[in-house]
Symmetry: C2
Subunit: 142 residues, 2 copies
């Protein structure tokens, strides 16, 4: 776009990463509410100021970059179940998609400097974090 | 990351764009539920297959790239109100943030080929679309 630096029009800047006991995608829960553990979100120092105002107990939407996603996938069997019809990825939450962004509704359990303990989180260890947004009080969405 | 092409590790690929009566950020509602209009989401032809399975009446989370966002902003006055304390952008929904991703919960009103009529949507005309995800039936989040 004309109003963005031309050298990086759509380039995400990781602002942190996930530290989790989940080490690989195989075996990780498909969704946070399916038994995902607590995890730490570690924010990079240059973004410390952006954390001001976060409150323990609040819910937030964490946006990650699902770095192991296959970006060429346009259709999947939902949840890997071949009894279900092949479905376009815009109608699924599959991590294999053109822009492998993960949305995770989490509760902030602890704030320790640049580290946020959150739950539940199905993203694996090392997953880059690109944003964190509050849940709006007048809505149930993210 | 080692498992991503090195030439574009975190580069989003727009999959479509917004067509809206809202032509500029000034004057646009801050959130969809604050009087935002219907709009069209126009998917690019290479991603047509990814739309299979979308259903009129369903709610979805649209992810946009807020291309006019200022990526150097780390704190803002919430809603532009200088009576409120300066707040880190991870605790606000401000479009000025390191990765200006917009999350919009919308209802799919109509599907016409590559075009989706959705409501409400506060994103302005021309906003790039990077993903669309279903709302999970067992959750209220996005």
């Amino acid at each position: 776009m004309a109003d963005m630096p031309e050298d990086q029009p759509y380039t995400l800047r990781p602002v942190g990463h996930v530290e989790s006991e989940l080490k690989e995608r195989r075996g990780a829960p498909r969704q946070g509410r399916e038994g995902a553990p607590e995890a730490w979100v570690v924010i990079d120092a240059p973004y410390a100021d952006a954390m001001d105002g976060l409150i323990v107990g609040d819910d937030a939407v964490l946006i990650t970059w699902l770095h192991q996603g296959d970006r060429s996938t346009l259709k999947v069997y939902p949840r890997g179940n071949r009894q279900l019809p092949l479905t376009g990825i815009f109608a699924t939450r599959a991590p294999d998609r053109p822009n492998p962004l993960g949305l995770h509704r989490v509760t902030i359990l602890e704030i320790d400097g640049l580290r946020l303990r959150v739950s539940p989180l199905e993203a694996i260890h090392g997953t880059p974090v690109v944003d964190l947004k509050p849940i709006l009080p007048d809505s149930l969405d993210a």
